[in-house]
Each structure stands twice: as structure tokens, then as C-alpha cells.
């Protein structure tokens, strides 16, 4: 089992950040590498079990199932059903924690998955850096930094 963990300070109150990231169908509005997204079978984006089907700007297509969403803990977990990344048992969680000092937000994004041993380092970098940190950096910029 491979684990990836990325965290970043977003210069905005947690409630404001959560408004953006809680929408399971809204990746194109804040993740710079996502071109478009839809929820399959006309489900609601906050319905546990719903599947988002989205296209990356490089053309790749990913399907992910919403496993958990908590407006109380400000966290969202999902599993990959299909992707071009050759990962198995991929489960990720994005969670927010308020930082009272300065009214900012700690955003943590972690994933666990299985993959071929020789692909592990490249995948950890691709997911940790190319996906999670890139999206969190875009969030930071969105709030003025």
C-alpha cells in the first residue's frame, strides 16, 4: 500500500474554502488540470455513492465514486473506479481544518493505493505534486496569494 500526503495553508476561512471543494462535480472550477466533469446517472453531487466522470486537459478520463462527505468534519473521500494511472484500491481524502490564528485553513489531501513497484515513485510524484499540490496551489491563488 502506497501513501501520499500533501498539506497546504489556504489564506481564507475554512467555510469559504469548503464551499468550493465540497462540490464533487466542481473540479473544473478550481483544479487547473480538469477540463470538464459530470455526475453519472443524474445523481446529486453530494449523494454518497455518486460517480463523477471527468476529463483532464491532457485528454485523460477519470471516474471516481464519492465514499464519504462530511459538512461537520469538512472532509470528502472518494475512490478511483477508472483512470489512466494504473492504480488499484485508490482511496483519497481531502479535508480542511480551521487555523484560528489568522482565520486560515489547513488543507490536507491524502491517498492510498496499490501499484506496480517500479511505478511507485513516479505515481507518488504525479499524484502528490502534479495533482494534489497543483490543485491546492490553485486554491491558494484563488484566495489572493
Amino acid at each position: 500500500m502506497t501513501k501520499v500526503y500533501v498539506s497546504s495553508v489556504i489564506p481564507a476561512p475554512a467555510a469559504d474554502v469548503w464551499k468550493i471543494v465540497r462540490n464533487f462535480n466542481a473540479l473544473p472550477s478550481w483544479a487547473p488540470f480538469v477540463a470538464d466533469s459530470r455526475i453519472e446517472q443524474n445523481a446529486q453531487a453530494d449523494q454518497i455513492g455518486c460517480i463523477r466522470n471527468f476529463t483532464l486537459k491532457d485528454g485523460g478520463r477519470i471516474r471516481e465514486r464519492l465514499l464519504a462527505l462530511s459538512d461537520y468534519d469538512l472532509s470528502c473521500s472518494y475512490a478511483i473506479l477508472e483512470s489512466p494511472m494504473a492504480v488499484e484500491n485508490y482511496v483519497a481524502t481531502l479535508s480542511l481544518t480551521p487555523i484560528t490564528d489568522g482565520n486560515q485553513t489547513l488543507a490536507e489531501w491524502q491517498a492510498e493505493f496499490d501499484c506496480a513497484a517500479e511505478r511507485e515513485a513516479a505515481l507518488m510524484h504525479q499524484i502528490g505534486n502534479g495533482v494534489f499540490q497543483t490543485a491546492l496551489t490553485a486554491l491558494k491563488h484563488r484566495f489572493g496569494r
Binding site: P11, I99, T100, D101, G102, L106, Q133, G144
Partner: protein, 506 residues
Amino acid sequence: MVKVCQSTIIEAPIDAVWAILRDFNSHDRWHPAIAFSEIEGGEPVDAVGAVRHFRLNDGGELREQLLALSDKDRRLSYCLLEAPLPLMDYVATLRLKPVTDGDATFWEWRSEFQPPAHRRDELVRLVTEGIYQAGFAAVRNLLRRENVRLPVETRMPRAIVEPAPPLDMPLAASMVAPGQTAMTRAIIVERYGGPEELQLKEIGLPPPAPNEVRIRHTVIGVNFIDVYCRTGFFDLLKPPGVPGMEAAGIIEALGSAVSGFSVGDRVAYACPPVGAYSERRNMAPELLVHLSDDISDEIAAASLLKGVSASFLLHDVHAVKPGDTILIHAAAGGIGQLLVQWARHLGATVIATVSSDDKARIVERLGAHHVIVYSREDFTEAVMLLTGGKGANVVYDAVGNDTFGGSLAALAVRGHLVSFGQASGPIGNWDIGRFASKSLTISRPNYAHYTDTPDKLAPHVNRFFGALRQGIIKVEAPRHYDLAMASQAHRDLESRRTIGALVLKV
């Protein structure tokens, strides 16, 4: 039952913070309220069940028991066994999380307890401010002292700790601040935002640490980087904090480990950490510059940052040589005026852009060979016309968003764009593949990387003061604002109405 939760970011790796906090007996080394602490029965500090018995500065004694300690989660829980205050059923947990983006640490400190109803607000405030927030500041300071020999970090902790408001009880008073803390007036940014966030307040100023000096400011420089700190675009300032990275003044007190400086010395500085918008401050003296009699406080505060910047921009980032054609944006601004004069002296052909005819006249007087009023004229076309279609060898661009694309287009083959600011907004993302069409070089210099040690800084200071003495560059008398009017100074600076430098007078 009330719940208190406070959290902060400490600019240090998680292992460094955890090394301090996991020691259940370490708090008398860092918490300002605690005079002495010991573990009862000689138990190890990391034995779950261990009891720490400690005495506050006011003599009050407490006992607390370690309930849980996890090196895996970096989490520690403890409860209060005995205390001189009715913090009934007090159980607290502190936990750390790594901030991988920047190698910092998230620290959360939370507790639950049952106060008597009539003392609820007072006790919540004591725990929130007197214990947790004061503890955050103390650990931040402890780590800063331990790191004092390291180079300037990009994110500096606050230099001046704002004391928690005094509470009407003896225990709280001792927890808030030691008795000898003096007060000073300073501009505080409570949260990132517009000029209105610059508020004049009285804040506590402890005696200088052993490796610090205390400076009484006379004149304080106002720079665009202060705007970026105020808005949060740069995170050199973490609210609440005091902005400002340039000032001149007089050394008023010395820490025990300081050498090379005396009380009464005239000094100036242009460096982090922030904290210059104040009457007095403490800071490490490594990057202080002694002022000779022929350099006034006003000129030093108005021009040290800009002069040192101009020095490394023209000599290190790009070594300007005779025959170069250089384009300088915002040439009537504080740093623009220095670049124009100095580049001309170095033998370059200087093309300057300004926003108005008034500014054009000033820049012409400073020696620019060609002046373009960019509000009226397309500066890219003008540069191409002036250079016979070749373009400029170097562009100095601190305007950012409005000019970046035009600057690229105005460059000659193998030209160099020095992007050192973004007064009009961030430059956004550019496809560097396109730069191959002219083999362009882009530099994005960071002031700290050219000036964060005495060895790096000294040549630039000497070169700048030398150029001032020889009359190679002249610095106009700056525009004055009272310290309390810092917000107006920022408004004027951001409106691009100003000519030359702005300073705050104390």
C-alpha cells in the same frame, strides 16, 4: 462544558516542533507563565501517567497528568489534577500536522472543561489567550532563537509579540507578560486586506533577546513589498503583525551576546523580518548597516532597500555594460529613478516608461535617453522604433501584469527580462516554450537571496553609498507621512500617483 480550540502555523519542520512539545516537562523552558516544572517521582517525561508539578511566575502551583502520547499522530493529551483556578474537569490535547507545502507545522491546542457559570468568559479567555496563544508565540520565539544562525527564511516569525489583554486576576496577569515589558506604538495588520487594515496600536516590546538590539526608529521606508505583506500576497507577515522592512534609527539597547554595535549608533536596515512600522523594535543586528555622518536617516530610510536592489539588479542579476539598451518601466518610481541614473552611468542607452508627462520630465532630468508615456504610446512599438527593430537587451519590469507581455515583445534576440515586481497584478502563467523564438532569459530575483547574509549585503551597501557620495545617483527628498498615517501612504503608493520615495516619520 466549554470547548476551546486554537490553532496556528509554526514556521518550522514538524520534527523540530514535536521535539519540544512531546517533552511533558519542557514547558518551563518556553511558556512565559511558568517558572519551574518537574516530573513527580522521577518518572520519564514520556511515561503515560506521569505527573508534572509546576509553579507559575506568580507562585501558583499546578499538577497535570499525561493521559496519552503518540509519536505516530504527534498528539499529546493531559488533564489538570490540581490548580488554583476552577478549571474543573480540564482535559487538553495538542496535536501537530505537517504542512508539506513549505515544511511548516500546523499546531492545534484544544480543551474541554467545566467553569463556574459566572467565571466562564474570563476562564475561556485565560485559556485561549494566556495559555494557548501565548504558548504558540513562545514556541515560535524559542525556535527562532535556536535558528538565529541560519540564513533569513522566506517566512519569518513575528518579531514583536502582541501581549494578550490584561486579565483581572493575579494568575492571568503573570501568564500574559513579564512585568518589565515596555510598550511601543506600531502599525498592526490584524488581517490581510486593504490600506484600512493598517491600524496604529500600542503593543508590548520585551527587552532585547541576547542576540538582538533594540532600535528607536526615526524614519521608516514605505515600499511596495509592504503592500504585498499587507494583502497577504507575500507571507512575510502573518497577522497580527507589524509590516515594514526598511528603517533608520538609533540603537537604544543591546542584548548580552551582541558585539560590533553600541548604544547610540546610527543604523539602517532593509531586510526581513517585518516590523519596521513601529517606534521601536528588537531585531538581530546581522543585517544592520552603520550610517556615516554624510548619509542622513531620511535618505537611508528612503533609499536603502531600493539602492541595494538597484545595485544587485544592475550588477548581479544582469551585469549592465556600455552599449546595452535597457528598458526601465515605472522609471519615476522609487527604484526606477535609481535604475535610470545608475544604468546611464554604466554606459547603457536608457529607455524609460512612465504614466504621465509630469513623470516624463522628471525621468528626462535624471538622464533617460528616451522616455515613453505608456498611457499614450505603445511602448513595445516605441522601443522597436528607437532600436531600429532590434529591441532592448534588458527590460527591468516591476509593473507585472500590465507590461509583462509587452516587455517580452520589446526584447532583442537573447534579451533578458528581469521581472522583479507586480505592481499592477500577478503576471500569471506563461508558456516558456515561446521564449525560444528569441532565446529569451527571464529572471525572477528575490531580494533575500541577494542580501540575506552580511557578506552578500555589504558589497551592495558599499556600492550604493559610494554612488550616492560620488553623485552618480541622487535621491530626492522623500514624501513624509506621520506613522499613524501609514494607511494613507499605502493608498497613495498603490494609486501610482506618487513620485519618488515615501517615508513614515516617527
